[in-house]
């Protein structure tokens, strides 16, 4: 089965604006927000990007959403398998963007083809209070994608909006259509935001920390809605979170990101039960324990220091300055110093970018 979405060696580098003299003297400097990542997403799969803030999760999402100035995309491509009718339309107007007769290279689409592809990928944002225009009624918010893409007549749109609202369990839809966002709770707003993405029937749904601003009690509802949608609509979901416990709950696959790179990628169970990268282990041990007896146990999080700047990424392994395993395994230090480890399949379906498991296997 071909994946729905293929991200290949994506690099997003933002130039740093320096003064006039700085530009004359020095080389261009970049914030390497995303520094070469690859992954695939299949139908009915929830793929998680996990990592601390600033690791490039959101930039990855924005790149896939084509929200980033294409001048900042240093290399790589994002291939999406669109719906049949979209594919035929694009192969008519812009055949050079179609790859292998199935995929469309997002960064090669222009104009109308680009707009068509936006139907296929949709995003839910973290902040349900900011991501909906406060001056638009729920109906206008959910209808907007249809208006933008010129889909349907008035009655069809009303029907589509009602269907989308029902799908996210805002029932009866007539009751919610006329409300303004400020008349809704955070969870309801987030569901409106999800409904807005659904009316276009996308193949891929990005969820950028969709529950991290919601009350814990509401989170489960939203996650349940997402889970259901994935199954009923054959969507692929990219779920972005900093919470590895949450990732385990909802995701089929987890990719752990650190400083613009994926450091470990595997099925969620594998990664939780048998983390190989020292950074993953650190993330795991940072998860708060809900068992009351453990509250006085001193938790040992095996990591040191702070995240280095994405402008000056350390030579060799980029995690080395913070790595506890590096200090403990002196035999591997020469590799860590010299060369950055690539993502290698150390076990079946378990990829990791760390010299310790890679070298030990050899």
């Amino acid at each position: 089965m071909e994946p729905l979405l293929k991200v290949e060696n994506l690099k997003v580098w933002f130039p740093i604006r320096k003064g006039f003299i700085g530009t004359l003297l020095g080389r261009a400097e970049y914030v390497r927000a995303v520094d070469g990542i690859s992954f695939n997403i299949h139908e009915e799969e929830t793929f998680c990007l996990v990592g601390e803030s600033g690791c490039g999760k959101t930039t990855t999402a924005r790149a896939i959403m084509m929200l980033i100035d294409w001048g900042d995309i240093k290399s790589g491509r994002v291939l999406v398998k669109p719906h049949e009718e979209v594919l035929t339309e694009i192969s008519k107007i812009q055949p050079e963007a179609v790859i292998n007769g199935v995929y469309v290279d997002l960064f090669k689409t222009r104009g109308y083809a680009n707009k068509l592809m936006r139907r296929e990928i949709q995003i839910i944002f973290q902040d349900p209070f900011g991501s909906i225009n406060p001056r638009m009624r729920v109906y206008d918010v959910v209808e907007e994608p249809l208006v933008i893409h010129g889909i349907g007549g008035r009655e069809e749109r009303v029907e589509a909006v009602a269907k989308a609202l029902t799908a996210v369990k805002l029932t009866p839809p007539e009751e919610f259509m006329y409300r303004y966002p400020h008349q809704l709770s955070g969870g309801q707003r987030q569901r409106v935001a999800i409904a807005r993405t659904l009316v276009l029937n996308p193949k891929i749904l990005l969820a950028d920390e969709p529950v991290s601003m919601l009350d814990v009690s509401i989170r489960a509802e939203i996650l349940q809605v997402l889970e259901e949608l994935k199954k009923t609509r054959d969507m692929g979901i990219i779920f972005i979170t900093h919470d590895i416990a949450l990732a385990r709950y909802i995701c089929d696959k987890i990719a752990v990101m650190y400083l613009g790179k994926i450091v470990e990628l595997a099925d969620s169970d594998t990664i939780i039960e048998k983390p190989l990268h020292p950074y993953t282990r650190a993330l795991m041990s940072a998860v708060p324990d809900v068992i009351p007896e453990n509250r006085l146990v001193l938790r040992n999080v095996p990591i040191k220091g702070e995240v280095p700047s994405a402008v000056r990424i350390p030579a060799g392994c980029r995690f080395r300055p913070r790595c506890v395993a590096y200090d403990q395994n002196s035999w591997v230090q020469e590799y860590c110093m010299k060369e950055e480890p690539g993502l290698a399949e150390v076990e079946k379906g378990h990829y990791v970018a760390c010299w310790i498991p890679i070298r030990r296997r050899v």
Binding site: R119, E143, E144, I148, Y178, R196, L200
Partner: protein
Amino acid sequence: MSKMPVKESFISYIARSIKEGLREVLTYNMGRVGLAILVFMVVMSIYSIIVLPGDFPAMWRYVTEPPWIYNPRSALPSWVEYLGFDVSETRTYTAIRPQESRVIINPDDLFRYAPEVERALGARRVALIGYLEVYRVEYNLDSRSYPQDIIVLFNVKASENVNLTNIRVIALLYVTRPDDVILKIGELSVSLNMLNYMKATHEYFSLPYISYYNLNLTLEEMKTYFNIAIFGKPITSREFESLRGTYQITLVLLYIGIDPREISRLIADRSLSVSVDIKVLGTSYGLLGTDIYGRDLFMGLLFGFPVALTIGFLVSLAIVAIGLTLGVISGYFGGRIDEIIQRAIDIIANIPLLPILILVGVAIQTQGWTGWPALSIIMIILVAFSWGGVAIISRSMALSIKSEPYIEAAKALGASTTRIIFRHIIPQIIPYAMAALVFGVPSAIIAEAGLSVLGIDHGLPTWGRLLADAQANRGVAYNMWWWVLPPGLLLGLFSFAFVALGFTLETIVEPRLRRR
């Protein structure tokens, strides 16, 4: 589905905002006052457009033409009488009916039906055959101030088959004073097509008057102060006192030239009609008095209403429209466009506006442009130099809205730039724009008034222009408060209305300013 959600267009969004805004404005006292004044202004403007003739500005400019010459000069408002001012009233007797009208065959009949003709001081004894009409009106003087003049206006209408040049009219005007002295104050002998108006004059009575009262006055003095002679009584050889009581003004019209019976018939079957208005010009007039040229200041002020609203709204609307557009473009697109617009704002903000306007005003005058074209140029300059403030604020608002997540969401949905700007950014700025619009109106008006006072004449009787006239003609020096105060007060009231509305809108737009 019972309720069908209706897609809301940009226009209906704005209409709804205005409606909701209006409702909210009415909950504030300031808002109510401002709105009431604004409604008054609009009503007055509509009234002015209905009442005033289309060529009113030209009419206003020609101070030596009718209708101004038929008005008293420098007359106070008529209501000042109730404030204790001693003024004589201006009375107009419109389309009066003749008391006598008959065919005269026997010359002595003239004296029988119009005895004033014989009894007038120094009247020549005329005895003619013709068709006679005698008009009499009464005027009551109860004031120390002398009425300025007596004017008779004729309006001759005739059907086409009547040859007016063949008919001559002898018009004689008399005043019977309360002391029973009869003065002949006018005589006219013209063919009927020339019959237009007649004014009181000294020449028919001054010599007998001087000798009768044994006065020490020259004819030149009599000519200048004939009204004092008519409405006053000498108490010394040079001093007068107004003569209170009822004056009877008699107009004798004698139609000659063709058979009097024929004229009688023409008048009877309305082939010929002569309508007579008699005006006694006192020292008070109308609602707001007159200026030194006799121009009705109420009419001038009335004309100022639509002009003020037009200048205010057009200038303010243009400033907000340009400022909003450029500000949003500047904020949303950024980069080079932003830089260009911001530097342009810096430049226009640092060029002093007043000297430029004065220069332009002088240029307009040397070009000889007047009226709306001249005013338009002044308005364009006002707009060109004032949009910066709105643009700067719109830009910063656009900048902050641009970074809102819902803009990002709209982009992710594939919304075009136009859609994002018109659907997501501008609606957020509209409330501010409304407040800026309302606040901008008075400043445009005040700027126009200031320019008028500085002597830039665009030829339209605006309130500022009235003030400038008052200043130029020493109206202030002569203590003619009714010339200066009303336009000044109206300017103030106008500004106050918009400032009150603006404050209310500001409170609505910026809830932190709310006091309840």
